[in-house]
């Protein structure tokens, strides 16, 4: 149960940062973002945009929010499955990753709004890698604690 709570918290935190990047740095005021900010308020300072340097600013503005979205999705999947059923968790994590990749492909074909970006796909893979890594650490800690 404790594991699941941690993954829910990680998912919400990740969504909170992602939503705030859209609203505070990209100036989005879509209704969903409004609710996201109302439920999970976080005010990101604008000068943080320069953390990666001007030439890498687009990574911070466009790719990292998408990576955080995938991280939140995967964390929520792990919250549903816990650490006991690794086989099914892995299948759903793969489906989650594919949903992100398919959305990018749909953006490329114009079926959904947005801009196709290879770096978004890299960000999805990195996000999946991070959540799997974190789940392994948590698994080891749980094993150590008996």
């Amino acid at each position: 149960m404790k594991n699941r709570v941690i993954f829910v918290v990680l998912s919400l935190l990740s969504l909170m940062f992602s939503v705030s990047m859209y609203t505070d740095w990209r100036g989005y005021d879509h209704g969903l973002f409004y609710w996201g900010q109302a439920v999970l308020p976080l005010d990101l300072p604008r000068h943080w945009m320069g953390l990666l340097g001007t030439e890498n600013e687009s990574v911070l503005l466009y790719n990292i929010p998408d990576g955080l979205w995938m991280f939140a999705l995967c964390a929520m999947i792990l919250a549903v499955w816990g650490m006991s059923d690794k086989y099914n968790a892995a299948i759903w994590l793969f489906l989650a990753l594919m949903s992100g990749v398919i959305l990018e492909i749909f953006q490329y074909t114009g079926l959904v709004p947005g801009t196709f970006d290879w770096f978004d796909i890299y960000a999805y893979f990195i996000a999946l890698g991070c959540i799997v890594f974190l789940s392994q650490i948590q698994n080891k800690l749980q094993w150590k604690n008996g």
């Binding site: 100036g27 969903l32 549903v80 949903s99 959305l103 959904v112 947005g114």
Partner: protein, 175 residues
């Protein structure tokens, strides 16, 4: 938890996140319109490392253009406005330079002293970008009608917040 419930929940999670991604992306009301981010009206954002909140200390000395002597007793109405680099929605790395709107009355009235000088300070302003400035405008008016009216503006920024300026007045009969 039953396995089928987990499967349904996982499916719902993916659908919900997919909806978030589609509904939130770039105005779902149609294909995004191309925007020219090289438009000369747009400026590159140059964020200041740490935002600076600063009060502008302004100072103006009025001298007679002919004699170079200070002119006391001249009525000067000073008003000021912040000009900010406002992030563009379509080009997040660019901004447009805009006056702050909806601000309360930002002005002060002065009369030059024996040295022909007035000085004062503005409200505190927050500077987020290197291009953020406070525009201070002096409306100079000689109530005795000896000197011609004049309007002078100076721009202050976070690195230059207490500059003194000198202006020269021409007598009406010389105009």
């Amino acid at each position: 938890m039953e396995k089928w419930i987990k499967n349904v929940l996982s499916f719902m999670v993916i659908v919900f996140f997919g909806y978030l991604a589609i509904a939130c992306d770039d105005e779902s009301s149609g294909p995004p319109q191309p925007v020219n981010c090289d438009d000369p009206m747009l400026h590159l954002i140059e964020s200041i490392g740490n935002p600076v909140t600063s009060t502008i200390h302004y100072s103006l000395t009025l001298l007679d253009k002919e004699t170079n002597q200070p002119v006391p007793g001249i009525y000067v109405k000073t008003h000021w406005n912040q000009v900010s680099c406002i992030q563009s929605d379509a080009c997040p790395m660019h901004c447009t330079i805009q006056f702050s709107i909806g601000a309360p009355d930002q002005s002060a009235e002065h009369t030059t002293n024996a040295n022909g000088n007035i000085n004062g300070q503005t409200f505190p302003y927050e500077f987020l970008d290197k291009k953020d400035k406070v525009l201070v405008t002096f409306d100079v008016e000689d109530t005795h009608g000896v000197y011609g009216a004049k309007r002078i503006s100076f721009r202050y920024d976070y690195t230059n917040n207490s500059q003194s300026y000198t202006a020269y007045l021409l007598k009406n009969d010389a105009l």
